[in-house]
Amino acid sequence: MRFTIFQESRVGKRRTNQDRVAYSYTRDALLLVLADGMGGHLYGEVAAQISVQFIAQSFQQEARPKVIDPILFLSRVLSNAHHAILDYAFDKHLADIPRTTIVACLVQDGIAHWAHAGDSRLYLIRKGKLAAQTRDHSRVQLMLDQGLLDAESAAVHPGRNRIFSCLGGSHPPQIEFSRGTPLINGDVIAICSDGVWGPLDTDTLVQTLADGRVMDRVPQLMNEAEALGGTQCDNMSLIAMTWHDDHQEDTPDTVSTRTMPADAFTTQMEGFGRNKRDQEDLSEDEIERAIREINAAIHKFK
């Protein structure tokens, strides 16, 4: 499996970043996940963090080196993440249940599956054109589909941030699944929160990411979105991944998983442990765990 991947999350002009992003891969499977905690509700950040962390952890446990059934996996982990949020709210006696959007994409055997709830989006860009896109679970999107709104008025509609499906909250989420989509060399999968797709139009996103140079393009898009977002700029998160043929020549930024052991994984998660308190908080358990992990790695590679 060979791909190039880049993720970034920025706080924008908000006080906190309630977006969470992560990707994780084993030798044969790759997971991208993004959650946008809902600001209007209590602890949106918590919901997003629980979801991303839970989904990434499940992936690490089950992908050895790939999951048995991608669709079942996505369905199970998303619904379990939902219940994890409910449990958290129950444990902490929260007045309101935290909510978050979710979009997760799993690639294995060269086939991409994705699932989402809410208005965080996935785009599949092939040969410079938009090949697939998730449909937002929002009132505005429904009105668009029914012809009650056109794209222009939808962009400024007061209720454009209202969504009818999410993880957490009092209603069970309506999760939408994609069909399995075989990836070809050069395909770009991008997932982003509304802080990115809101200010930018789809064409810009597609055109910019079309060349697959995600290392440069992601920061570039983030800059543009941030500039357009102005003083009200929302949290912005974007993960973009370019898929490569296995027999292509190595380029410096590309991740090749060929030489990975079957039970190893690599995870990149942002938004955790950023503040000073988290860093100082290294518990006894964590020390023991770190030592165990290091020794396991030493013996594995011996």
Binding site: P252, G273, R274, Q279, E280, I294, N295
Partner: protein, 316 residues
């Protein structure tokens, strides 16, 4: 924070399964011991012991960490784990091998393979002004094999210097001391200042840590090659940004070394990261190239032979 000298564990001390022989080196962040395991195999053990945060007085075993420093001490431990994690994954003949990791005496220890030989720094000091181009090219080409492996794991070494390059008895280099290595993508705000050696660190290590990349290690590789010729490191790169007094190698040693080789050193020492070789491989390719211009004969045949003999003796 006041800096103080920490006392090393005494010789003969039984540390986990190892018996401490003597202290090998003392840094601001750690102490390295030579020790023997149960089978009598020599190992190097690195003890996490930051000078500024933990104090071990004479005759004590467990270092004393004040309440106020607990947080930072634990955070530094995280960095130490990072180094362990980094090295545990790396199995390469040109990178020092980690054998074990354990906890004792209120701190943590990393056991590494003990390498016999000496540092490139010692070698260069001993053969001051007499280090041959072929030798440098050979050592660095092989050392870069190890560094490539490091970069392939998405790590940066960030403290490459002649005293961190060890030459085994057979002349093969080993890259040591990953104390400064960090996962490049970590979004930490460090409490403990990263450790590095001023003359060998790239300018982005001082100013713009977001711009760190393989090219930052390449700068240090260039500075190390420069130091092999000069006997000391070039001017600190942060000072160079204000007032660059570094003479290009092509000027300083013209005639003594091939122009191609000297130009390669200058290329690595560019202040602009983009103007340097961008990867170890790019630099290796150049270093491994047989230089077209042979250095003009400097010495008479007999002198040349003498110095060669000296190097050969010096190497064993």
């Amino acid at each position: 924070m006041a800096t103080q000298q920490n006392c090393a564990l005494p010789s003969g001390f039984q540390l986990d399964h190892y018996r401490v022989e003597r202290q090998l080196s003392l840094g601001g962040f750690s102490i390295v011991y030579l020790a023997y395991d149960q089978d009598g195999t020599p190992v190097a053990i690195k003890e996490y012991l930051p000078n500024s945060l933990a104090l071990r007085a004479e005759g004590e075993v467990t270092p004393h960490v004040t309440e106020a420093h607990q947080g930072a001490f634990r955070y530094g431990m995280k960095c130490f784990f990072e180094e362990g994690r980094a090295l545990a994954k790396l199995v390469h003949p040109n990178v020092v091998r980690v054998l074990n990791f354990f906890r004792a005496n209120g701190t943590v220890y990393m056991v590494m393979q003990f390498e016999r030989g000496r540092t490139l720094h010692d070698y260069a000091q001993k053969n001051k002004g007499n280090v041959r181009e072929r030798f440098i090219r050979g050592v660095f080409t092989r050392m870069l094999n190890g560094l490539r492996e490091v970069h392939a794991h998405k790590l940066l070494h960030l403290d490459i210097k002649p005293s961190n390059i060890y030459l085994r008895a057979d002349g093969t280099p080993v890259l040591l001391d990953f104390g400064a290595a960090r996962q490049t993508l970590m979004s930490d705000t460090p409490i403990l200042k990263p450790m590095y050696t001023p003359g060998f660190a790239s300018p982005e290590q001082f100013t713009n840590r977001d711009a760190l990349g393989p090219w930052s290690d390449i700068y240090s590789v260039g500075a190390s090659m420069y130091a092999c010729l000069a006997g000391n490191s070039p001017q600190r790169s942060d000072d160079r940004l204000n007032n660059d007094t570094v003479q290009p190698a092509t000027k300083l040693w013209a005639g003594q070394y091939s122009h191609h080789f000297l130009a390669t050193i200058d290329w690595c020492l560019q202040l602009d990261p983009l103007k340097r070789p961008q990867s170890c491989f790019a630099l290796q390719k150049v270093l491994a190239q047989r230089h077209r211009e042979a250095p003009p004969p400097q010495k008479t045949w007999l002198e040349g032979l003498g110095s060669r003999l000296k190097t050969m003796i010096g190497r064993t």
